[in-house]
């Protein structure tokens, strides 16, 4: 191991460090940049009711068959704050920054990320 490390030149080590640091930074930067464009989509009864950007904090009251459900967007995260459905599973989902919260009795679906409702959801690409 020592002889391997000694056999590398200064430029080798610098290049490796630079690559690792740059790509680690790139992972975070690209994640930030993309999550900025993600939206919160609220569907009631299978129809899109609201679309909000994830970046602005707000409180939304959505009316479903069982009564009002309050959805809160804060600090790039979404949760269901109050619900009038019987089992309140949507409350137990907690804060999400990506994914879906579903309230079956109230027929409300809150989707974060995945682009707008019309865009395809699935694998981006596979290369050989």
């Amino acid at each position: 191991m020592k002889t391997i490390i000694r056999s590398t030149t200064c430029a080798d080590r610098l290049l490796f460090l630079l690559l690792v640091l740059a790509s680690c930074a790139g992972i975070f930067i690209s994640r930030e940049a993309v999550s900025q464009s993600s939206d919160v989509l609220i569907e009631v009864n299978g129809k899109a009711a609201y679309t909000f950007p994830l970046t602005t904090d707000r409180l939304v009251t959505v009316d479903g068959p069982c009564g009002p459900t309050v959805v809160e967007i804060r600090e790039r995260k979404v949760h269901v704050r109050e619900a009038s459905c019987p089992n309140r599973l949507c409350l137990k989902e907690g804060w999400i920054s990506k994914g879906v919260i579903v309230c079956l009795p109230n027929r409300i679906v809150v989707t974060v990320g995945g682009g707008s409702a019309g865009s395809p959801r699935g694998v981006d690409a596979v290369t050989g």
Partner: protein, 166 residues
Amino acid sequence: MQLQDKYRIALLSAYALSLHGFEALLPTPIPWLKLGLANIITLVALMLYGFKTAMTVTLIRVILASIFTGTFLGPSFMLSLGGGVSSTAAMGLAWAVSRHFFGPVGLSLIGALFHNAAQLALAYLVFIQRIEAIMIISPVIILIGAVTGLMNGVVGGLLIKNLSRE
């Protein structure tokens, strides 16, 4: 071209081809993750026998491997060719410009970086055309490339040391 050079190219191509084939059999956690073992041979060819030999070996390896696996002139062949040619060209350039600045590890890292960069650019231009997908995936690919490039460089360096001792 001397007869000895032809033998050398044939031998190196055979090694590269078998490593390329062996690598395809290895199970990897992500389907598109490859170790780039054939780059070890390109590295050795470049540092011991020069740029022309390295480029010839890379071209023979890419074309023959795609013919054997049935992807000749297909999309994965284009990615493979673009990556191989650009990484060999970048390593050759770095080797020519600064002969004692980079060792085998540094050259291997440059090769891995340019291989990935060329493949990402090709994938964007030809296949995906969605910049956010490329932006998300490229730092991950370049990070993995740095790690595999480091390993290949270490192995290539040991190989060069042993070959030049004889």
